[in-house]
Structure formats: structure tokens, C-alpha cells
């Protein structure tokens, strides 16, 4: 059981939850994740660890409401308990002094990017964060990022904040500027990571992506998270979650992510019908 200290709405349908998990807080490193099961009958879902406080024994999880499990989490009050938090799982990010590092985050992907940007900076890199969102309201962790990296470039799809465009536009600008990054770390929607990887492959810039696939156990036992990387089958939970973006078969991954789309919609819809008012009150209605 992991007690919830706070569970705040930080953007439409996006929440920041701080839970007590001393062992995870003590041993986690940038890039790792936990498996969360909110309660009895609940699903096990992977969530990246956005931050941790080893002294207080807490970890911060940032999640977007996309289905029933995340909707259930959005309605949990401080003082309540998450039934199961297992981790840290996955391989930590390989952090060293690369030189110039561009951390490219889209939407909710900015959350797992934050500890990586922090670690890259601490290792002596010059770090630029490229943060993208559909619209201004959905941009998360901008001030936090500004506090840890050398410079932040913001783009929104609709131009409501920062430059209008996609993260790839800003990244191309960076590559062309002569301040060419030695490493790109890209985390966000699969299509964004694919487009970033295509761009950097052409430009010859090494790129790491962090994959968020479907998982059950998170310890290498089920293989549900398998992806093809450089023609080899890899398990995201134990071999990843980070891989060379130039080697990942993103098209296959995007298809696999749709496996339970119908079941998930059915399950979420049933929950939403019963809890619509509370979800609206909490600003937790999934979009699209």
C-alpha cells in the first residue's frame, strides 16, 4: 500500500500525484518507472517516475487520464492508498558528459523527461529543453524545466504559446543553428518520437527515446511490451524503456499500442457514465 499525499490537477486531464514509496524513492534513477495498480480488480499500468524525494520517501507520478485506470486515480483523494506500487523497474538512463544535449518532450512525455534533463545537467552537459504541447493549457513542467536546464524552447501546435509548430521544427532549428546537439533524448507520443528520430537520423544526431508500451508485470515475464529494435525483439520493461530511436520500429509499436483500444473505450465509457460529474469537477475528462 502506498499512501497518497497529494493528487493535483496541473493541466486539463493531467495530474501530479505524490505517493509514499520509500524504497522506490531511495533507489530510483532517471529513466526508470513503476508499475501501479490502484486497487482490487485494478489493472497494472507502467508510469514513469517524474521526481523523488529520498528523505521524505516519496515519489512523484505525473499521469494523463486516458482510460479507466487513470480516471480512477484522478478521483483518489490525499490520504487514500494506492494498492500496489512496484519498482523502480527498467534500465536507468545512461548519463554521462556528452556535450550538448537536447531534451525533447511532447505533452505528458515532459514528465519522464524532467529527471533525465536534471541528470544530464548534473553530469556537466549543456542542456536545451524543447517542450511541445497542443496548446498552452496542456504544457506542463515548464518552470521546473527552466530551473534545471540551460535554455528552454517552447512550441505549441496552435501557436497559443511559444512558437507555432511541432517539436521537430524547433529541433531542426537547433540542429541548423550551429549549436548542433551531440545527443537528443525524445519522449512523447509515439508519432512524435518517430518524427524526431527520422529527423535526427538524417542529421546524424544520436537519439534516445523512452517507450511507453502496454505492460502487465513489468519484470520481463509476459512479453506484452515487446518491440522490434534493429530487427531484434526487445522487452521494453527490462531491456528498456530507452532505446536508440534510429533502430525502433515505431510503426509496429503504434499498431501494438492499439491492441485494447476497443476494450479500453468500453471500460472507460462505463466508468465515465457513472462518475461524469466528479470527473468534470476534477478537470479529468480524457480528451479525444
Amino acid at each position: 500500500m502506498a499512501a497518497i499525499l497529494t493528487n493535483d490537477n496541473i493541466a486539463p486531464a493531467v495530474f501530479r500525484m505524490v505517493v509514499v514509496a520509500p524504497e522506490v524513492a531511495r533507489s530510483r534513477r532517471a529513466g526508470q518507472f513503476v508499475i501501479v495498480r490502484p486497487g482490487p480488480g485494478g489493472e497494472r499500468i507502467p508510469l514513469t517516475i517524474a521526481d523523488a524525494d529520498p528523505e521524505r520517501g516519496t515519489i512523484t507520478l505525473i499521469y494523463q487520464v486516458v482510460g479507466k485506470t487513470t480516471a480512477v486515480m484522478s478521483l483518489m483523494d490525499p490520504g487514500a492508498e494506492i494498492a500496489d506500487v512496484a519498482g523502480p523497474l527498467g534500465q536507468p538512463t545512461h548519463v554521462e558528459r556528452f556535450g550538448r544535449v537536447a531534451c525533447v518532450g511532447g505533452g505528458i512525455g515532459i514528465a519522464p523527461l524532467y529527471p533525465i534533463a536534471q541528470a544530464m545537467k548534473a553530469a556537466g552537459n549543456d542542456v536545451t529543453a524543447v517542450l511541445g504541447a497542443r496548446t498552452r493549457d496542456l504544457l506542463i513542467l515548464e518552470p521546473e524545466m527552466r530551473a534545471v536546464v540551460d535554455r528552454v524552447v517552447v512550441v505549441t501546435d496552435d501557436g497559443s504559446y511559444g512558437a507555432k509548430g511541432f517539436v521537430t521544427d524547433a529541433l531542426r532549428g537547433l540542429i541548423d543553428s550551429g549549436e548542433r546537439p551531440d545527443l537528443v533524448v525524445a519522449i512523447g507520443p509515439t508519432i512524435m518520437m518517430k518524427m524526431v528520430s527520422l529527423l535526427t537520423k538524417e542529421a546524424g544526431v544520436r537519439t534516445l527515446v523512452s517507450l511507453n508500451t502496454i505492460m502487465v508485470d513489468g519484470t520481463g515475464m509476459c512479453g506484452g511490451c515487446r518491440v522490434t529494435v534493429g530487427g531484434q525483439v526487445k522487452f521494453v520493461c527490462v531491456d528498456g524503456p530507452e532505446f536508440d530511436g534510429h533502430q525502433v520500429d515505431f510503426d509496429e509499436m503504434m499498431k501494438r499500442l492499439r491492441t485494447y483500444r476497443r476494450q479500453e473505450a468500453e471500460s472507460y465509457e462505463a466508468f465515465r457514465t457513472r462518475h461524469r460529474c466528479r470527473l468534470m469537477e476534477r478537470n479529468a475528462e480524457a480528451r479525444g
Binding site: G41, R44, K68, D84, V85, A86, L89, C222, G223, V233
Partner: protein
């Protein structure tokens, strides 16, 4: 053989076996409740009458944990069921589990004198059924186990993994007075007993009761901790544990490495069964939030118990056809005879001497079928079974919308990966002394599938027991002698 009671051996041999009552096939394929219903006391006594009480009970040697079979059967005959259960429990800590999942036809029942007299495995004394009966009877009538009054030693032992090997070692060590903590990576203890073996073969309530019994013995069970990730073995020693038993099992799914295995609707057996069992996807979207693809035509690759479990699970999830594709013949299938028979009765189609060479899909990535080849049996291979050889030009396609790959599991790599001091073999299994379970790392024992490769519940339990004895000796003497067996393989005869 001795005459016993008022029947002669000849008369006993004439008694037909008492069949275990079962849910009818057409009923049970639509529910997840247990298939065999268990003996009544009268049925158990009648079956017990078939035992010849051999002077040299070969059945005991056929049992990996050497249950005193004639002794407990005699007590059943005398309706002293509690005493019978105590006899079984002397050497078997999980009898309700073993009575259900042991491959008795390869063990005690294979060597049973009654089997030999009839030259028919189906005529053996139904030792497994009787074991299950006494275990269930005792769980019902004596639910509170006796907690032995042992002196606490205060020595701390960590058990990594809560499957059959770990639970057995934990139980034995607690009875010896040690302070035992079991670490489980999943949210529920039991290992393969809860994620792998389906409810219709091993009800989860039975596993829960066994785990509760361990708690009563003072064993601490900590879930959601993957040793090898959040903590290493070295961390455990730093925290004050003096001995560690690694029973992390064979949890790494093996795929066939044929085209199409990443299509939507293709599962490893581990994932398919974990979703259905541990995560209760049978009850999605009501009591469970974990989905599973309910295929109309489900094809399972493999011939072991896991393949049978997957194929039968598919039926219970509403499949119209559930097919097993196995590249050898039925005779070579490693599954228990009972499981094969149950699967057939329920309508699982066994396609023997056929092998998948490609999984076919549509443009969205969903499975549509399996391309297969027919096989013939050639010369025996290293396993002693005749090697399947493809028949040229015999390709054909069968329709499928779910495919389950149940061709085996490799050892769980988490612990050896982070403790390189532990030696592994070329398959990644931990190398352990076959007599004691000691590994190449001081203070660390290993047993069960992580050492043996995918084997059986009872063998894993035997390994847990053996290691517990050795751990106890180490804690009492402090002597860790390098065992020669772990260093060198025995010289060829």
C-alpha cells in the same frame, strides 16, 4: 505384497479405479471453476482399498519428496483422514496443490505395483486423487495449522520469489525457528501457482490458504519488490539477512522467432495466462480492469501443460475453436495425461505433427491465420524423443485471430544480471549444487525452475526443501564449504 484386512491382493486388483467426479465437459468449458470435484469420503475409502500395501513401496521412491504413500492410504482406509493428512504433510508442505498438479503418471502412479500388474497406467492406485482428498479434508476440518513451539533463532533468511520452491523453503525454515522474509515481485504471492496455473485446475483460494498458513508460522511476505531491481542480493546481506534462497522461476517467455509474432493478438502463454488468472481478465470489464482479446479461433503452439492451460482458457473466454499445434505426436507431449484428456473432452482440437512457420496478419496488424507445415518423426534427439522433420511441400493455413505461444520459458534473468558472482550455465540457469542448492556466491542458495529449467511444482518444492536443510546447517555451523559438485560435473561412467 501382504494381504491386508479381509481382502486378498488378487481381490484388490480386481477393484476398478474410483473415477474422480468432474464437471461435465460442456458445462465446465463455459466457467472457470475447478474441473475435478474431489472424492467423497466413501469414494476415497473405496479407492484406498485398491492399494496392495506393498512391503517394498516403490511408489515412495517414485515421489520426489518421498511421501509415505502406503501409510497415508492405510489411514484413509481406516477413515483416519486427519492422521493421513499429517503423514502427507511430514514431507509435502503443499499437498492440496500437489494432489492437483503433480504429474503422478510419471511418478508414484507410474511405478505403482497395481499399474504394473495391469500393464495399464489408467489402472494405477489414484494416489494423486487420494492426496488431494486428505489435503482438502484437512483444510476443511483442521483449517488452523499447528504452529510448532520452536525456539526462535533470530537468524534472518530472505527468500526471493514466492512460487512453490520459495514457499516450501520458507515453511521449512520457519519451522526450524528462523526469521523468514519472502520477497515477491508481483502484487500477490504464489508465483506460477497464481499467475500461470488456471483457476479451473488450481483454485486460487487453495494457494491463498497455504500462504496464510506460512504467515501463521511467522513468515513475512513482502509483495511488489523485485529483487535484482530495487534491491540486490548484496543489499539484502547489508540489511542483515544471513542467507538468501533464490527461487525466481522460469518466467522468461520464449518465442518461436517466426515472422508475425508481434502481430496484434499474439500472446506468450505467460501473458495470456497472467491476464486471465492473476489479473482476472475473465471478468473484464466488470470485476476486473485488465482486458484480454477473446478470440473466435485460438491457436496455441506447444505440447506441455501450459499449452493445455492456454487452450482450455481460450474456450472459457468464449472461443469457438481452440486448437493446439504440436510438432511431434501425442505420445511425445510433455503434458499430464489428465490435462490432455480434459482438453480433448472440452473440444480442444489437437493437431499433431504440425508446426507453425509464419503468423499471418491484416493491414492493421491483427492476426488472421497461421501458416503450418506437416512433420514426420525422425531419429531420437538429445531429449530422447524422436525429432520432428518437416515434410516438403506440405504447407497449409489455418484461420486464427488469437495465437498463444506456449513452447517454454527461460530462466528469470533479474537476479543473476545484478549479482554476477552467481554462476549461470549457457541457458542462464543458476548453477547450484544438486545436493544442497548452494550457488557460487557465499550465503546464496537457489532452487526450482531457476536452476532446473521449466520443470514441475513438486520438483521445485523438493529443491526448496533441500536448500532449507542446507541453509539451516549453515546458520548453525557457519561453515560454507565449496561443494565439489558445483565445480565439476560427475565423471562419465
Amino acid at each position: 505384497m501382504s494381504d491386508d484386512g479381509n481382502l486378498t491382493a488378487k481381490q484388490r486388483l480386481k477393484i476398478p479405479p474410483v473415477p474422480m467426479p468432474e464437471q461435465p465437459a460442456d458445462v465446465r468449458r463455459a466457467n472457470i471453476r475447478e474441473v475435478p470435484l474431489g472424492y467423497t469420503p466413501d469414494q476415497a475409502v473405496a479407492e484406498a482399498e485398491r492399494c496392495l500395501m506393498c512391503k517394498k513401496p516403490v511408489c515412495i521412491q517414485g515421489c520426489p519428496v518421498e511421501v509415505d504413500i502406503p501409510h497415508f492410504i492405510r489411514l484413509v482406509r481406516e477413515r483416519r483422514f486427519h492422521e493421513a493428512a499429517l503423514v502427507v504433510k511430514q514431507t509435502n508442505v503443499l499437498p492440496a496443490v500437489c494432489g492437483r498438479v503433480c504429474p503422478q503418471e510419471d511418478q508414484c502412479q507410474q511405478v505403482c505395483t497395481v499399474t504394473k500388474s495391469h500393464k495399464d497406467i489408467h489402472r494405477s492406485v489414484k494416489i494423486g486423487n487420494l492426496e488431494r482428498f486428505v489435503a482438502d479434508w484437512d483444510l476443511e476440518h483442521h483449517p488452523d495449522i499447528e504452529v510448532p513451539d520452536v525456539r526462535k533463532t533470530g537468524r534472518r533468511v530472505a527468500i526471493v520469489g514466492s512460487g512453490p520452491a520459495g514457499l516450501t523453503a520458507a515453511g521449512d525454515l520457519a519451522r526450524m525457528g528462523h526469521d523468514v522474509t519472502v520477497f515477491e515481485a508481483l502484487h500477490r504471492p504464489g508465483g506460477v501457482l497464481v499467475y500461470g496455473i488456471p483457476e479451473f485446475r488450481l483454485p486460487k483460494a487453495i494457494v491463498d490458504r497455504e500462504v496464510d498458513n506460512l504467515r501463521r508460522l511467522g513468515v513475512r511476505i513482502v509483495c511488489n519488490v523485485a529483487i535484482g531491481k530495487s534491491r540486490t542480493l548484496e543489499d539484502l546481506f547489508r540489511e542483515g539477512y544471513e542467507a538468501v534462497f533464490v527461487g525466481t522461476g522460469a518466467g522468461l517467455p520464449i518465442f518461436k522467432k517466426i515472422p508475425g509474432e508481434n502481430l496484434l493478438g499474439v500472446y506468450s502463454a505467460n501473458e495470456y495466462l497472467t491476464r486471465a488468472n492473476l489479473m482476472d481478465a475473465y471478468n473484464f470489464p466488470h470485476a476486473s480492469d485488465t482486458p484480454i482479446i477473446r478470440g473466435h479461433n485460438v491457436v496455441t503452439f506447444g505440447g506441455g501443460n501450459v499449452a493445455m492451460d492456454a487452450a482450455r482458457t481460450a474456450l472459457r473466454l468464449g472461443a469457438e475453436t481452440s486448437t493446439i499445434l504440436y510438432r511431434r505426436s501425442e505420445k511425445e507431449m510433455p503434458a499430464r495425461l489428465d490435462e490432455i484428456a480434459h482438453a480433448k473432452e472440452e473440444g480442444v482440437v489437437l493437431r499433431m505433427l504440425q508446426d507453425a512457420i509464419e503468423i499471418l496478419g491484416d493491414e492493421d496488424g491483427w492476426v488472421t491465420g497461421v501458416r503450418c507445415l506437416r512433420m514426420a518423426l525422425g531419429e531420437p534427439d538429445a531429449s530422447g524423443r524422436r525429432r520432428p522433420v518437416p515434410i516438403e511441400g506440405s504447407e497449409f493455413v489455418i484461420p486464427a485471430d488469437v495465437v498463444v505461444v506456449a513452447i517454454g520459458n527461460g530462466p528469470n534473468p533479474l537476479v543473476p544480471k545484478t549479482s554476477p558472482e552467481i554462476r549461470t550455465n549457457k541457458w542462464g540457469n543458476i548453477v547450484a549444487d544438486p545436493r544442497t542448492g548452494k550457488t557460487s556466491m557465499r550465503g546464496v542458495w537457489a532452487g526450482g525452475d531457476i536452476v532446473l529449467g521449466a520443470a514441475t511444482v513438486i520438483l521445485a518444492m523438493g529443491e526448496g526443501r533441500k536448500a532449507a536443510r542446507s541453509i539451516d546447517e549453515y546458520l548453525r555451523t557457519g561453515v560454507w564449504e565449496e561443494s565439489p559438485a558445483a565445480e565439476a560435473a560427475p565423471a562419465p561412467a
